[in-house]
Symmetry: D2
Subunit: 242 residues, 4 copies
Amino acid sequence: MDNESIRVTVWNEGIHEKKNEAVKKVYPEGMHKVIAEHLNKQKGIKAITATLDEPEHGLTDDVLKNTDVIIWWGHAAHEEVKDAIVEKVQKKVLEGMGIIVLHSGHFSKIFRKLMGTSCSLKWREIGEKERLWNLAPDHPITEGIDEYFELEHEEMYGERFDIPTPDKEIFISWFAGGEVFRSGCVWERGYGKVFYFRPGHETYPTYYDKNVLKVITNAVKWMKPRIMKEHTAPCVKPIEKI
Amino acid sequence: MDNESIRVTVWNEGIHEKKNEAVKKVYPEGMHKVIAEHLNKQKGIKAITATLDEPEHGLTDDVLKNTDVIIWWGHAAHEEVKDAIVEKVQKKVLEGMGIIVLHSGHFSKIFRKLMGTSCSLKWREIGEKERLWNLAPDHPITEGIDEYFELEHEEMYGERFDIPTPDKEIFISWFAGGEVFRSGCVWERGYGKVFYFRPGHETYPTYYDKNVLKVITNAVKWMKPRIMKEHTAPCVKPIEKI
Amino acid sequence: MDNESIRVTVWNEGIHEKKNEAVKKVYPEGMHKVIAEHLNKQKGIKAITATLDEPEHGLTDDVLKNTDVIIWWGHAAHEEVKDAIVEKVQKKVLEGMGIIVLHSGHFSKIFRKLMGTSCSLKWREIGEKERLWNLAPDHPITEGIDEYFELEHEEMYGERFDIPTPDKEIFISWFAGGEVFRSGCVWERGYGKVFYFRPGHETYPTYYDKNVLKVITNAVKWMKPRIMKEHTAPCVKPIEKI
Amino acid sequence: MDNESIRVTVWNEGIHEKKNEAVKKVYPEGMHKVIAEHLNKQKGIKAITATLDEPEHGLTDDVLKNTDVIIWWGHAAHEEVKDAIVEKVQKKVLEGMGIIVLHSGHFSKIFRKLMGTSCSLKWREIGEKERLWNLAPDHPITEGIDEYFELEHEEMYGERFDIPTPDKEIFISWFAGGEVFRSGCVWERGYGKVFYFRPGHETYPTYYDKNVLKVITNAVKWMKPRIMKEHTAPCVKPIEKI
């Protein structure tokens, strides 16, 4: 797959943008559109979008078959996502597809399914300052990112974040109100990579921030599947004579 | 909870022992009874049993409330275990309960739910020799275990075992037929500990083996919950002035 | 070793307390004395002290032989610690002894030797507020510790802390000046446990703080060696016929 | 550095090849030459060699400055390698250089320095069969490697291998004599990657094996430094007003 584009599907439940005027003002066509547009400007990436209200939430077998990395944003409608679709997405991740879970996606069915934990956390929405410290300057995800970057106004997420010990921590956030958070974490599940990235409250222009977009773009590139392979449990013959 | 007994519930689907004469011969009352009897001989442990055919699979709210560590054996009837019960068991693990998943339990709903992966593997049932190498002689689980122990006849499980990177590997198995397997692995999920322990095919007297029983007993002691606490996602006030 | 006391040796270079009036005022007999006195008040712990200026830095073969857990504080004189002594301490850790490295001990020879990295970090000494978030409420080290605790005045240590990925993160600190730090981390090396615990600048009464003392005491108890065993590289006979 | 070649230095103590006729017969010019020749046939890789008997063991400041990945083979003369050189190599790894440690290099000063452990293991030299199981088919190191590969005759290394828990296990070996071994492991130290790869006894033609060479080549490509940066411990000003 080396010379082909990375095929990204940006999934958004797409609720807040329709119901909330404040969100509509920031993201008239939805956060997914802003992210996909940015990705489509990058060499070697082709992004499409999918939303909850489409048939099969826009994640048909055909779409999933042609997705290398999926990006997931959800909040108000986690429970409306059909279990059958979630299972398909998980299966595809285990086979090699990358998944970037954004912000309130921490409580999505797919993230909890991949983690096996409650994924609970503390939160507060007063638009305080967040500073993300870069713990992994040598990691592909932080290419072009300084030792930290700031978001002037964000929702706060605070520890304890109930997740399995990450394979690697990429960012830890400092919040003006006094909390900290493991804001960028990676895990492997099956042959697929999982990246949780905290920023992105719907009422702030976070997905226009150049650092946030850079991190997402870097993650997409890093997550390009190396293999895509089903998991089977074969009965095998002995290799040695017994 | 320091001076109280550890309360263990040994769960078994209890199918093979009823339908298969060979299994009935080895475990007339089921594997769960053999394990529970052994545990009940240990100071500080009180074990009960529960099976698939009991109401709520024997895992009522009351039973779960009074369980510190659950042991899980299943194979033929994984899909018959109700999702609602599996969710309760997972919730309890995340709150602090320990879980020991045995042998073919690798494909149980509860183990896959806690791991987030397919948990697939290779297998072969010709009763070959297994040698479990002790990688963690300093870990509570291996107290009294030598640098290795052998099981003369066992089903073979071979890599690649599709699990998340374990927090710690306790045993790696060598099989006469030429395979290897990560036979003892621990993870944390929420406040609970998970221990996967490979041996235990239903047609062999594995759960009478003194080393196997010692490992299970050690694991039970090590998994005694330190806290038992629900996971919540509270909205919190800033600690600092903003 | 179950019914015996845990034998702790609190090591301190003991420089600042002699040369600096401000430090002498806070710790007239040295930080090691304050820590050892607290530990000696705990049931099941017997603590002694050792310092740089004693013969063999107070860490003779006999002292090391009778130490279950060593606590290490150093800053001004890291390079004066003899390599031969450091090697003996490392050997003992690999054999099973626990080691708690405090604050500026991050740059000690023994910590860098156990980590294999530079252990560098950012720092600032203006006595700002530190808040340590408890990421592991189920871990023995945090018994009796709330979801966070504060130190009104401390030196700041900031990321990126150049350490190997910890086996488990216990605390992450928030600093008033805007930084974060992985303030409590555990690793295993050989059969021994390593706990790095950040707080403890010599000009502040940190080692009188009840939470700091509780964490150190908990860590001592948790680090009690389960085995004490030399590492050898034996030539072994085949177990199987070849 | 994206369009430039990866600069590899293959280091060998070069003792056995001179003193032992059996080794000379298999590797007339030394194992380092065979490995370097293979790497030089690969697009995008330029390999040189260095040996113990050269000035500064062939690892001058200039050579290290121009090395992206170092490969290390040693056995008989670990103690003859100068500490000052080992420290320079470690410093370079922490700054970003990759290091592949081969076979008996497990006891080299540089590997023990990076691990912090004794790196001891069991061994036996009767030329038995080794089968390396591929646990990470999605990892760059195993590109083109099947689910396992065999070496008909190799020295045996057996667990317990005294190393820190690897960030990821790539291979586990099965040996005909009954042992298992974590034969391919990766860790990060500073900004550099460490890969330990077990095969390579000097009396067998292991470094002519196509799978062994493929793994080494893949590892070299994967270890290409993303950054090359010194570690410092700066005193920093507060970012926030205090």
